[in-house]
Assembly symmetry: C2
Homo-oligomer: 395 residues x 2
C-alpha cells in the first residue's frame, strides 16, 4: 500500500550531527567564541524595494477592489514578463510563457520528476545537493554518478560518467553546491551537444547564478546554443535576493523541448495546474521588485558583501596553499582538508582548536570524503577572524 521506495532512502544525519557536536562543544566550553561558517542560509535582510513591494501588495489585499484571489498557477504575467527581460540581460531569449513561477527550487527540482517515467536512467554529480538523489530514490529510478574530483576540478564532463548506461536525465548545478565550481560556456556546450545527441534532458540548477556575474561565465544554460532542445532550468530568488524564508523560484521549460512526441512545457503546465495553486500574490510582487533597476542594485549590494567574505576565505587558502574550488563565483568554498585529515577529523580539529564550524564534505556524496565546505554568509569581520584562527592552528 505504501511507497516502498522510501525505505531505500538513507537518513542523512550530517547537519544534525554537526549541530550536536557544536552544542556539546559550546556546553563544555561556555566562554568559547564559536564562528559559524557552515551556514547555508543568507543573513542579509530583504532589500528596501522588496519590502516596499510587499507592503504595497499587502495593502491591496485589505480592500475588496484590489483584493487578489486565485491567480494563474504558472505565475502572474507581470512577474513572468520581468523574468523574461532578466533572461535577456543574461544573454538568453526566453518567452514569458516558458517561465513557471513557483514556491521554491527544491519543490520544482522534486516535482519536475512527475513528468518523467520511473524507468529513466538518471545521472547525478558526486558530490552534489542531496535532493537530486533522494527524490529519484523515492520514485525508484536507476541512478548513476558523475565523478567530480580534483582531476576535473570538480567540473565533471560526459567522460566522467561512472556507468555505461545511457542517461535520460542529467543533473547539472553551476555554480555548484557544495563545490562552488562553475562551468564555462565551452564546457556547458559539450554537455548540451551530448544531451541533444542522446535525447537526454539536462535539469540545470542555476540557484547560485548571481555569484557568477563575471569573467563571461554562463549564468543560464539558455545562453548556450542548442539548450532549448535539451534543457530545463530551475532558478531561485533564495540566494539571489534573500528569499529563503519568503519563497519564490522559477523554472524554464522551452517550447522546443519535446520527448516521445510530447511537449515537456505542456506536461509541466498540466502538472502545475493540477497539483499547485500558484505562488502568493504578495510574494510575486516582491519578486517583481527584485528585477527593477533599483531593486537589482540593492540586492547586488548584498551579493557583494557575500563575495567579500568569499574572497577573505580564498585569499587565506591561497596563502596557506590549500587546494579548493569555489569562492570566486559562489558563496561556497570547497577545500581539501589539510594534512590528509578526513572530513570529520578536520571538522573536530577546526572546532576544537579554532572554534570555527564548517560542513564535512562527505554529506554531499562519496567524493566529498576528505573535503570540507565553508560558506560566505557570515559577516566580513567574523569571516576574517575565522581565517586568522585557521592560519594560527595550521602554523
Amino acid at each position: 500500500m505504501i511507497n516502498t521506495n522510501y525505505s531505500n532512502l538513507k537518513a542523512n544525519y550530517l547537519f544534525s550531527t554537526v549541530a550536536e557536536k557544536v552544542r556539546a562543544y559550546s556546553e563544555a566550553h561556555p566562554d568559547a567564541d564559536v564562528i559559524k561558517l557552515g551556514i547555508g542560509d543568507v543573513t542579509k535582510p530583504l532589500a528596501k524595494s522588496v519590502i516596499e513591494a510587499l507592503h504595497k501588495a499587502v495593502d491591496e489585499n485589505a480592500v475588496a477592489e484590489t483584493f487578489m484571489g486565485y491567480g494563474p498557477e504558472q505565475g502572474y504575467g507581470f512577474l513572468r514578463e520581468a523574468l523574461a527581460k532578466y533572461y535577456k540581460t543574461l544573454g538568453a531569449d526566453v518567452d514569458a510563457d516558458e517561465i513557471f513561477v513557483s514556491d521554491g527550487a527544491k519543490s520544482d527540482i522534486a516535482n519536475i520528476l512527475d513528468i518523467f517515467d520511473k524507468n529513466c536512467h538518471v545521472v547525478i554529480p558526486d558530490p552534489v545537493y542531496p535532493v537530486y538523489l533522494d527524490t529519484n530514490i523515492m520514485d525508484g529510478r536507476q541512478v548513476s554518478f558523475l565523478n567530480a574530483n580534483e582531476g576535473n576540478i570538480f567540473l565533471p564532463m560526459p567522460e566522467d560518467l561512472m556507468s555505461d548506461a545511457q542517461p535520460d536525465i542529467i543533473y547539472l548545478c553551476s555554480p555548484n553546491n557544495p563545490t562552488g565550481a562553475c562551468y564555462n560556456k565551452e564546457q556547458l556546450k559539450v554537455w548540451v551537444d551530448y544531451a541533444n545527441k542522446l535525447g537526454a534532458v539536462i535539469l540545470f540548477d542555476s540557484a547560485y547564478e548571481i555569484f557568477a556575474d563575471k569573467d563571461g561565465l554562463p549564468r543560464t544554460i539558455f545562453a548556450i546554443d542548442g539548450a532549448r532542445t535539451c534543457a530545463i532550468e530551475i532558478a531561485s530568488l533564495s540566494k539571489t535576493a534573500g528569499f529563503t524564508g519568503t519563497r519564490c523560484s522559477y523554472t524554464v521549460v522551452p517550447k522546443e523541448l519535446v520527448r516521445d512526441g510530447q511537449s515537456l512545457k505542456d506536461m509541466w503546465f498540466r502538472r502545475q495546474s493540477t497539483k499547485f495553486n500558484g505562488t502568493p500574490y504578495i510574494v510575486q510582487r516582491a519578486a517583481e521588485a527584485v528585477f527593477t533597476e533599483q531593486g537589482y542594485a540593492e540586492i547586488l549590494e548584498n551579493i557583494k558583501l557575500y563575495q567579500t567574505n568569499a574572497k577573505i576565505i580564498t585569499d587565506t587558502l591561497d596563502e596557506l596553499g590549500i587546494y579548493y574550488t569555489g569562492g570566486h563565483y559562489s558563496p561556497y568554498i570547497w577545500l581539501k582538508c589539510p594534512n590528509n585529515m578526513s572530513s570529520w577529523e578536520f571538522f573536530d580539529f577546526f572546532l576544537e582548536k579554532a572554534q570555527v564550524v564548517g560542513t564535512p564534505g562527505e554529506g554531499f556524496g562519496e567524493n566529498g570524503k576528505g573535503f570540507f565546505r565553508l560558506t560566505a554568509f557570515n559577516t566580513p569581520d567574523r569571516t576574517q577572524e575565522a581565517m586568522n584562527r585557521l592560519k594560527e592552528i595550521l602554523k
Copy 2:
C-alpha cells in the same frame, strides 16, 4: 522517457467553455447586466488582523536582527501550536507535530500520493473536485467511483461503491465541492469503521469546514472515534480566511496511522522535508492571526455574509420547489436543473433569459449531468437579483 500516464488525462474544458459562452453573450448583448454565481473564489478582502500580521512580518524581514531565512519545512511551531488549539475547539485532539503547514490544499492533496504505492486501489466520489481523479491518473492508479446521487442525498456511503475491488485510499470531501452536502457524525463514523476494518486510508478534504459551524456537524474527521488510525485530513485557509491568493493550508497525519509497518506521518515528513522548503514566514504569521480571538471574529463576519448569500439562494429554491443539496453548510448550492434540462441546456437558458452565470454540474463527474452549481461568493444584492430573475423565468 516521459510519464505516459499523462496521455490518459482528459482535458477539462468546462471553465473555458463557460468563459467563452459568457464572453460571446456579453459581446452580442453589450448592455446585458450579467450576474456571476459561478465564482469559485472568495471576494471579501483579508481580515484586518491578517493585514496587520502581514505588515509586521514584512517589517521583521527588513532588518538583519529579525530577518527570517529558511524555516522548518513542516511549518513554524507558533502556527502549528495555534492550529492544535483550533482543533481542540473543533472537538479533536491533534498534536502540533502531527500538523504540516503547506502552500495549499491542492498541493497537499496531490503530493500526499507520493507516499502511496502506484498499485493502490483508489475510490473517489462522483461528482467531486476533479483534482482527486487527475492526480491519480497521473500516477497510473486504478480508480473506481462512489455513486453520489439524489438517493443518498449526495452523501455516498460504503454501499455506494461502484466496484468490488477493495479500496486502499478513499477520498471524502465534506462539506463537499461541488454538492455542498455535509456528512454528520454518524455517517463519518461508518466510514471510519469501514476504513479501519479494511486497513484503507481516508483522505479527508475539509477545505469548507468553517461553513459547517452549526447543528453539531463534524468539522474535522478527527472528531470521530477511530479516525486516528485511518485518516489524513487536508484543510485550508483559502475559503476560511480568504487566502486563495495568499496561500496557506495544513495537513494532519496522526501518529497512530501506520501501514505496512511504516508511520505515514514519518513518511510525509520525509516527503515534505525532501521536496518542499516551507510556507513563507510572512504567510505563516498571517495564518497565525486568523486563529486569534480577534482574527477569528473578523473572518466569521465574512463567512456570515457568504452564508447570507447561500440562504438567499436556498430560500428561492425552496420556494420554487427545486431539488438541491448544499447551501446550509457550504458556499455551494447544487441544484437539479428545472424541467429536466441538461446541465448545459440550463446554463444557456439561465444566461440567455436571466443573464445569470453558474457552473454546469457535469464538469465534476458523470453524476453531475442534469445538475448545476451556484456559489455564495457574490454580494447579497446581486445574489438576490439573480434569484428574482430565476423566479421570473421559471414562472
